[in-house]
Symmetry: C2
Subunit: 384 residues, 2 copies
């Protein structure tokens, strides 16, 4: 397989975009990435999206995006794996270039959620869970995460307030990210006073939905000018677990995260201690804790310690959510994986501004689909 370099990225602000259609959002991110990369044409387009069928009554986003950005005739498809759709699309783009089939691929993650009534979005998000064995019995997606968190508190003796630092760190970092949905610092006090959504998950444990798109341009590393191909994909892996939580051997262990992270570490030839920045999938604070554990940064049940000790801050042992994470940057579900990747690239380029991690060589982005049932991990490396 060929080495693959990421030579361009693009993002739109995550917001309620009443003035932009689905294709405009995707196009804005895609064209930004193409300008960033200095390319005017791509050979193929991979779109990560979860909800457009339900939210926008529009399927077929491959053709929609390829056409809109002036790349009609390019090969184009949509890739879906619930909330990890963005990274799954990135992986499809990566394989197309690594294989030798495609020389220049565009990957776009896009989601436009705020046009739809809230109930429709709740129904839509629940399609990530098991329709027959979870949703039909009344579980929403938040409820599933609440059950996992409740069990976690019980097993490991934490209290809900011990998760506050995950959200405080995310909101702190988002202050410096122009693309983040929230620019609003929070405190332990506001966290503990925030309204309960589904016990024990309160409003500030949960990430907000939003409209947004992010994109990346991938090329064969040998073909790109050396100054442009400094950031390569050092590891790319995906794994699944059961769709329903109750079918898992251990509901508090993200087995698919462990699997995909281990594969990516082996491909990159490194271990967790060499990761300088980790964009994790903090859709809920419980997922932040579980991700840190499954990726090898904390022992089982010890994720919240890292947050409480400040290890997750910029300058700490393992900086996370350096642009606000899902929690404060926002979580336009099918686009999130591309935001995470764009943020890691910015860090490796040294373009992360106020939240720049010092001199990073390796950055990791991990995207979780469903309640842990489809997890995609990428490790990026800066070559000097």
């Amino acid at each position: 397989m060929r080495d693959v370099a990421v030579i361009g990225i693009g993002q739109t602000k995550i917001d309620e975009h009443w003035d932009k259609s689905l294709r405009e959002l995707a196009g804005d991110a895609a064209l930004s990435a193409m300008i960033d990369a200095g390319v005017s044409k791509v050979d193929s387009v991979y779109v990560g999206n979860m909800l457009s069928d339900i939210s926008n009554l529009q399927a077929h986003l491959g053709s929609l995006v390829a056409d809109w950005i002036g790349n009609r005739f390019a090969e184009a498809v949509k890739i879906e794996s619930a909330c990890s759709s963005g990274s799954a699309a990135f992986r499809a783009g990566y394989l197309s270039v690594a294989s030798g089939e495609i020389d220049c691929a565009l990957v776009v993650g896009v989601e436009k959620m705020t046009d739809s009534p809230g109930a429709e979005i709740t129904t839509g998000l629940a399609t990530a869970a098991d329709a027959d064995w979870e949703v039909d019995h009344g579980l929403s997606f938040v409820a599933l995460n609440a059950l996992i968190m409740k069990r976690y508190l019980y097993e490991y003796g934490w209290e809900a307030r011990d998760f506050a630092e995950f959200s405080i760190n995310a909101h702190e970092n988002a202050m410096f990210n122009p693309y983040a949905r929230f620019h609003m610092p929070i405190t332990e006090s506001s966290f503990s006073k925030s309204p309960m959504i589904c016990d024990p998950i309160n409003l500030l444990d949960a990430s907000p939905i939003g409209d947004g798109a992010a994109a990346a341009i991938l090329v064969n590393a040998d073909m790109a000018p050396a100054n442009l191909s400094r950031i390569i994909v050092a590891g790319s892996a995906a794994a699944t677990d059961s769709l329903a939580v109750h079918s898992r051997k251990a509901p508090l262990w993200l087995w698919a995260a462990e699997q995909s992270t281990q594969k990516a570490y082996i491909q990159a030839g490194i271990g967790p201690e060499q990761i300088n920045v980790f964009e994790y999938h903090d859709a809920f604070t419980i997922m932040a804790a579980l991700s840190l554990e499954a990726a090898g940064f904390a022992e089982p049940g010890r994720g919240p310690s890292l947050a409480k000790e400040g290890a997750i801050k910029v300058g700490g042992k393992i900086p996370v959510a350096t642009f606000g994470g899902l929690k404060a940057r926002g979580h336009p579900v099918g686009a999130t994986g591309l935001y995470q990747i764009a943020e890691v690239i910015l860090q490796l380029r040294g373009e992360a501004g106020q939240t720049q991690v010092p001199d990073p060589e390796f950055g990791m982005a991990q995207n979780i689909g469903g309640s842990g049932s489809n997890i995609v991990t990428h490790i990026f490396q800066r070559l000097d």
Copy 2:
């Protein structure tokens, strides 16, 4: 890139499967393919599906299928490009094996449409068209095809009854296919008496929806025993055109079909005259005519001549719909691409029974997404 062999296929009957859930249908086809291939485990799963979000309130089919067939932990995603989702998934599986990343991939196409009320399916199918510029103005998916057909009749001087032979041939061949939805021969008289759906498309111009799943197992050709790896992927290509018909340069020319077919011919090192069997995308008879033209079997405007002359029958110059085509086998949208591929494989294996094409070496399957906006073409070759 490595050579890729198709070593197993599986199909379920296309029908109203009230007794089978989405996962059971997909699983039945997947497990049949695995038994056919003699493998008990796959490295990755690619699911082609278009409508499960709307029809079954279930996204995340990668994890759903991988788990159900006992391959939990395998990498798995859903690929969508409207009605060409099945072939797009096959192409993703092909690239994963050709790249060297995956040794054994399962591709499943599945669609369960008949649980939903008709209006919901009409809405769902319309998501394949342009929501902003076509559907919002009142066009359904049949209506779009009717506009194309009307223009075709006007431009080339045909009458609607000249399309009868496409459907008669399809129903004739479906008589011998146990997986076909219809086992019901039709005649010119029944064709011309059939009720109008959307002028000039009548009921017997149009393919029926249905529930169904089909699957294939792909492996690195060098790894498989010689007797199992006789059928290889000789060409695989995809191309897009504008999502909306009105944006196309020539609404009567399937540009994306021409592009993807030409690429596939070049990859296989052949031309149309060497194709022994062609499973085309006869969702409507107008698409049958346009496909034959774009793939190089007829001059522009002359597609219906091939049908009228009998060239499309088994034993003719270019046999099509040899198992009934979309018209009579049925069209469970996201699964169709895999049915087409399974049928070409059966022909190349010499296992096509009563509709066996004599001693074929090359077979082609072409799958159309939308009204021609995303077209995927595969050429398979039997090595002796």
